[in-house]
Symmetry: C2
Subunit: 215 residues, 2 copies
DNA sequence: GTCTATATCACGATAGAC
DNA sequence: GTCTATCGTGATATAGAC
């Protein structure tokens, strides 16, 4: 069962999306030419236009690639047994993994790159991924609030404190990928575990009006 | 003293940097052509090459544009009178402002865009801005630890929790700039103030070994 | 320092045979 | 579905007069 080459089962379209996603991440949208892309796949670039109408069209197809997996992994956590804090910690582990290591999370700066000339992609990304992931996290926290484990917290502030550090860590690692000491500047495990502990502490101990006391 | 047009005092180079920075932010690196840039400045594109050797060269000159101001504003806070928590809150206000509203903070996804083909820019950005801003924040927190106001906290985790939400907020606002309800999805003041309160709470109450209790 | 004019080239996309 | 061949465009950059 050791297939180094993926088996695309006759679906050249899927193969193109896989290869293109990698190349977009590696070289950016403008930096990925149809010629180099075709070469990487092993077809002539004219053949490509049989599968996609344009380069924009291809990019729009690459962005949702991986949504499903990233969302269903968090859904699995929700469906599992366990107390809310354990579920939240598991969800955060998944978010670190998908945001830093899988295409769907690493696409952020590409979407920002094309958002001005190609606004539909950003909207699709928000509706198809960002909003859904937010709803899943909120569900876990609501469960915790209902059971008395967590204090109430404004949804947008929760996402700000939860996704903020993760997305920035992913962006930083893309931006400074050339650093040979990248892992010592931006260590995934250390930051992830510290982040989890602090979030759990906040959610279990800080009440909205209690925070204001310390102003 | 009402000059709508800036006075560049004979320095066309500075004028080019100002206009180019705006255009890079608006249209991305690849999306900004020398022709359109020249047109916006009011010269022919050939004339541009008298001031910069290449487009890369120009971009490299645009990135540090604004470092000084963003850093010196935090330095002013450090030099001012006030308790560490007040200073930290003031510094965070400045970081929200500069990261979201000024070019130096909004450049992140552009630097990520060009980092593969143009690695020098990312390194310069890290040394010239990221590391220095980190040192300034650390100085404030160290002051607080010395005076007993703050608990000790690992520097990288501190920056993860402090800069992470801010940078992601800035990136999100760039990415979803087309949304007409952008401010209700990503409200600056609400998130900033909540973030400040939570960070202050963490720094004044959470001890490293105390966090571990809640695992 | 700015101009006109141009070199050179890579890009996205298309036409039409097989 | 893939190919060869090519179109048209717009890009960075240069040459050389003023």
């Amino acid at each position: 069962m050791l297939d180094v080459e993926k088996n695309y089962a006759g679906s050249r379209r899927d193969e193109i999306i896989d290869v293109a996603t990698e190349m977009f991440l590696e070289h950016g949208f403008a930096g990925t030419s149809m010629a180099k892309l075709a070469e990487a796949i092993g077809i002539k670039k004219a053949s490509f236009y049989h599968h996609f109408a344009s380069k924009d069209d291809l990019f729009a197809a690459c962005v949702p690639h991986g949504y499903g997996d990233a969302l269903s992994r968090v859904q699995d956590v929700i469906a599992s047994k366990g107390d809310p804090e354990t579920k939240l910690r598991q969800a955060i582990d998944i978010l670190y993994d998908t945001t830093i290591s899988s295409p769907v999370g690493r696409m952020s700066h590409l979407i920002a790159e094309v958002s001005r000339t190609f606004p539909g992609v950003a909207r699709a990304f928000h509706e198809g991924y960002v909003a859904k992931q937010r709803d899943l996290i909120s569900e876990i926290v609501r469960e915790g609030v209902a059971s008395g484990t967590f204090k109430q917290m404004e949804e947008r502030l929760l996402m700000h404190m939860l996704m903020g550090p993760i997305v920035t860590l992913s962006l930083s690692r893309e931006m400074f990928i050339q650093f040979d000491d990248l892992d010592s500047h931006f260590p995934i495990e250390v930051l992830r575990d510290g982040h989890k502990d602090l979030l759990a502490f906040i959610l279990t101990h800080v009440q909205k009006d209690k925070v204001d006391e310390f102003r």
